[in-house]
């Protein structure tokens, strides 16, 4: 089962690669996504544990949250693919579709793998396959973005490997990178703490680079700004999720070794810093796709902050993982439509989106309210839960900073978003005039619906799963 989950998308990627018909190719992606989603659902429904390779691959409590999330998000984005490729006719669909599905496979692998080395390999492969997606537009700007993404990302990955080595070294003489072993060693206090600390710091920086925590976030605005909106959604919703999951695995080991406090301080500090940096750069941001990138930085900060505070906040931050990913999907796809309708992605060239592309404009506005934690959208529930967690932990200073930064972010984001959606449309719509169509707004609508539902109804099953995952991360069981 576990193997099938990783291999199925690869097979579809292969199909997409060799399929001669350019007309059918775009539909392979939704097909593969559908199959993957079906597999995930069955895996979740399956009674017995999903494992392979003597536990190197396993679907644990954390995976039960992350995997369906990634799968759903990818499915929604994949529905966007056919319409998108119809607009971008005659460009390298072959690579694009193949890379997309490979991307999905690698994300699945990261989430499933319980061997830190294997996980690292998957992450690296993921970086490789995302490069052509970023470079899809084939112009100087996208090339520069890709270069930065690759170089900074590779350095991050290199650090991740170094950290993995340290971690393994800390377990000498029983060096291992299988999480279960490490947790066991940690419980037995058999890990060399100095090595563990160093390892965690290096890993935090390494995977934090992939996750886009400040100040390692620098590649994000460029990459998200230049990538197709769909790819942006997958990076902001999928890749960051995977990196976060990876981070949680190391945190789990630290917690098992009784070193949670040490890791938490780190996370709280970096979390608040990320929110602050995001706030600074969102103020008066002209480019709304870059704005989304900084919003992603902010929410990564919120996630680690929640884990760093722990308890109820950890639960909230796992919930927020879901809400943020889905909302980002909505916003990136809406932003892509607006970008196409105006042939510009800065507020200097865009205004009155609600009039030119009503649905996309409304989606963008709704997404903004959702992502800033407004009821009745999902992120409100999670952010409010995190806040409650912080206050319950008695960290009033952190709570105050959290709220202030949320406000700063809201101010910056609000200014840009309103400038985009309100007013009278600038200029006349470019060639052909892009109009909302079911293919371009449908997927975002679906995601938004999910976000709203999560805002008014957290299914008991999900609630339980989240509680399990939180316990699993914090207590390792």
């Amino acid at each position: 089962m576990a193997i099938a989950l990783c291999v199925a998308p690869l097979l579809f990627a292969l199909v997409a690669w060799i399929l001669p018909s350019a007309r059918l190719r775009p539909w392979i992606v939704p097909l593969g996504a559908g199959v993957h989603l079906a597999l995930v659902v069955t895996a979740l429904a399956l009674g017995e544990p999903v494992e392979a390779f003597s536990g190197w691959l396993a679907l644990d409590q954390l995976g039960r949250i992350a995997l369906p999330l990634v799968s759903v998000l990818f499915a929604a984005c994949s529905l966007y693919v056919p319409a998108y490729l119809r607009i971008r006719r005659g460009e390298r669909h072959r690579i694009f579709c193949g890379a997309l599905l490979a991307f999905l496979a690698m994300m699945t692998l990261i989430i499933l793998s319980h061997h830190l080395g294997l996980m690292w390999v998957a992450l690296e492969a993921n970086t490789l396959v995302s490069a052509p997606l970023l470079y899809f537009n084939r112009n100087r700007r996208s090339l520069e973005a890709t270069w930065k993404y690759l170089l900074i990302g590779s350095v991050g990955i290199a650090l991740a490997l170094l950290g993995s080595f340290f971690l393994a070294y800390s377990a000498l003489p029983h060096a291992s990178l299988v999480i279960e072993d490490l947790v066991r060693e940690a419980r037995a206090h058999a890990l060399a703490l100095p090595w563990l600390h160093t390892a965690f710091v290096v890993l935090f920086v390494g995977y934090g680079t992939k996750m886009g925590l400040a100040p390692m976030h620098t590649w994000k605005p460029d990459a998200y700004g230049e990538a197709p909106g769909l790819v942006g959604a997958l990076l902001a919703g999928g890749l960051t999720t995977c990196a976060f999951v990876a981070l949680l695995r190391f945190y789990q080991i630290c917690a098992a070794a009784g070193e949670a406090a040490f890791a938490q301080e780190l996370m709280v500090a970096i979390g608040l810093l990320s929110m602050a940096v995001a706030g600074v750069f969102m103020a008066r941001q002209r480019d709304f796709k870059r704005m989304l990138a900084y919003s992603s930085v902010e929410h990564m900060g919120i996630l680690v902050l929640g884990i760093g505070v722990g308890g109820l906040a950890a639960f909230g931050s796992l919930l927020h993982l879901i809400n943020n990913a889905l909302t980002k999907g909505v916003m990136f796809m809406a932003a892509a439509n607006i970008h196409r309708a105006y042939a510009s992605k800065t507020v200097d060239g865009v205004s009155g989106a609600l009039r030119r592309v009503p649905v996309s404009g409304a989606l963008f506005l709704a997404g903004f309210f959702a992502v800033t934690g407004t009821p009745p959208f999902g992120p409100f529930v999670s952010e409010f839960t995190i806040l409650r967690g912080i206050v319950e932990a008695g960290r009033y200073g952190v709570a105050a900073a959290f709220l202030v930064l949320l406000f700063v972010v809201f101010v910056g984001m609000g200014g840009t978003v309103l400038a985009v959606v309100q007013g009278t449309p600038k200029g006349d719509s470019p060639e052909g005039g892009f109009k909302d169509s079911l293919g371009t707004v449908g997927p975002a609508l679906v995601l938004l619906a999910v976000v709203v539902v999560l805002g008014v109804w957290v299914p008991p099953a999900l609630d339980g799963a989240l509680a399990d995952a939180a316990r699993f991360v914090e207590a390792g069981k």
Partner: protein
Amino acid sequence: MSEWLAVCAIAIAGLSGLPGLFFAPSGRAGERLFVGLLTLAAGFACAAAVSSLAFGGSSELAAAWPVPGGRLAVRVDAISAMFVLQIAVLAALGAWYGLEYWPQRARPENGRKLRAFYGAITCGMLLLVVARNAILFLAGWEIMTLAAFILVTTEDEKPAVREVGLVYLLATRAGTLCLFAMFALLAAASGSLDMDRWPVALASPVAGAIFLLALGGFGLKAGVMPLHVWLPGAHANAPSHVSAVMSGVLIKTGIYGLVRITALGAAPPLWWGYLLIALGALSGVLGVAFAIGQHDLKRLLAYHSVENIGIICLGLGVALIGRSQGRPDLVALGLGGALLHVWNHGLFKGLLFLSAGSILHATGTREIDRLGGLWRRMPRTGLGFLVGAVAISGLPPLNGLVSELLIYLGLFRVGASGGSAWLAGALAAPALALVGALAVACFVKVFGAVFLGQPRSPAPEHAHEAGLAMLAPMAVLAAGCFFIGLAAPLVAPVLDAAVVAWGQPTAPPLASIAPLAWISITSAALLVALALTGAWLARRARSARGALPIGTWDCGYAAPAARMQYTASSFAEMIIRLLGGALRPEVHPPRLDGPFPGPARFHSHLPDTVLDRAVAPGFSLAGRAFARLRVIQGGSTHLYLLYILATLLALLLWT
């Protein structure tokens, strides 16, 4: 019982605008259906309120809600009932008014959106005043807030509208974040997000913080000076029936929140009351002072909302002092006065905004100094405005006097009874008197400048009287003003019930400590006497009518012109100069030189001291500071890699 009715009302109100979205943008069916549905919802809501007030003994209606900390708990006690009633009435009247004021045929581009969110805002307000769980409350609160934002920016093609929309959005978000913090504190201290579990929290050491956060969050919504920054612009630029709803009930939800939170603490510290009274006096005096200086009719009315919120805060402060000193009579007078003034302000401010809407509709301008002489052209609207003006100035025989009298009595009992809190009363009562006098000056100015004299510009010359759909709601509101003024004793039981619901079962009934019957009788007598004298004078004067037309004598000046009339600005000039210290008006006098100076222009403008001189500069300062920080993201990969190295080393050293 009443809970179920309320739930039905909330549901219907929320859906009322949606069907219209699927009708043709030009047809009338959509808006008719909307008005029908909203009226139905209002009916349910009124039924809920009345049954709760009549039979009392409301019981919580609760259901599990699978959201962390959430619980679908609804309850309509007397306090909720008062607000439900007011929301229902004003929302329904506004909807009817909209039929003619914002007809779908004339506004195909935004009419449907407007009505959809008008329904939403009604739904949100109803929900939040009956919710008994923080999550549910916040849901209603933000639905209301977002709907209000959409409604304010209905005409988002106008830059000014977009600007005030943004200010409103940011201000209200700041308030909401305060509420987040407050609820989080309450939850942490009481272990639950359900209201009935919170009293323990108010006994905990964080109680003070909770109160201050409540003051920040709810005060921003209510528009308490100096948190009023969003209010004037939003009220002025929204469609008038929306302004009526916002000023009439939306800002009152802030008061509702304050009443709820202050109802939790058994014996709050004295400084809570002091703070509220101080803020109330500040809002009252400065609110009306800023109002006098406005040139924009709706902006002026908006500032009067700030003033009236101040009066309400005075009452609430008296009630709090009574609570902390264990004096139920103060509680009864203060809270009764505050809640009654909430109702009264809803009535006459709604009436005034609707009248202003009719004026705008008829003349196309909100500039007071471009109007004039409308009394002959739109007498019914003028009558409505006159009633509103007299009522809001707290003058007999209308409703404003009753609530202000209660608050005066409370303040005098605090100030003159020699209690430890005398200073609060001794300073607040004269402040309230000053507010009253300034309000009279302001509204006689507006009434005179807009309706009396002669048209000052072509705009009002061709004005036309509003139609039935717009006049009927105004008539209803005016009738309300008269009813409360002339039948105050009938309202007292409602207020008593509210006081009991505020956790003061021992409070004496208002009728026993306030001369409500006297007030009503005297007012009625006054009304009769006025009618008789007026009739007599009119008969004496009728002989003069129809005689040869004579102009105003004007001290013998031969050719007085409409432009020579005293303008509203000049009327207010003295008062503005007296209060110049706080108002800081901008006056651009003309430069006259030589014995025969050429034509020159005089221009004066009264910016909002807080917004334009503190908040906005602060934001732009922060913006510039941030812009300077942007260099971090300089685009050089080398730099970025250096950050990573730096972080790595820093963290390694730190740990």
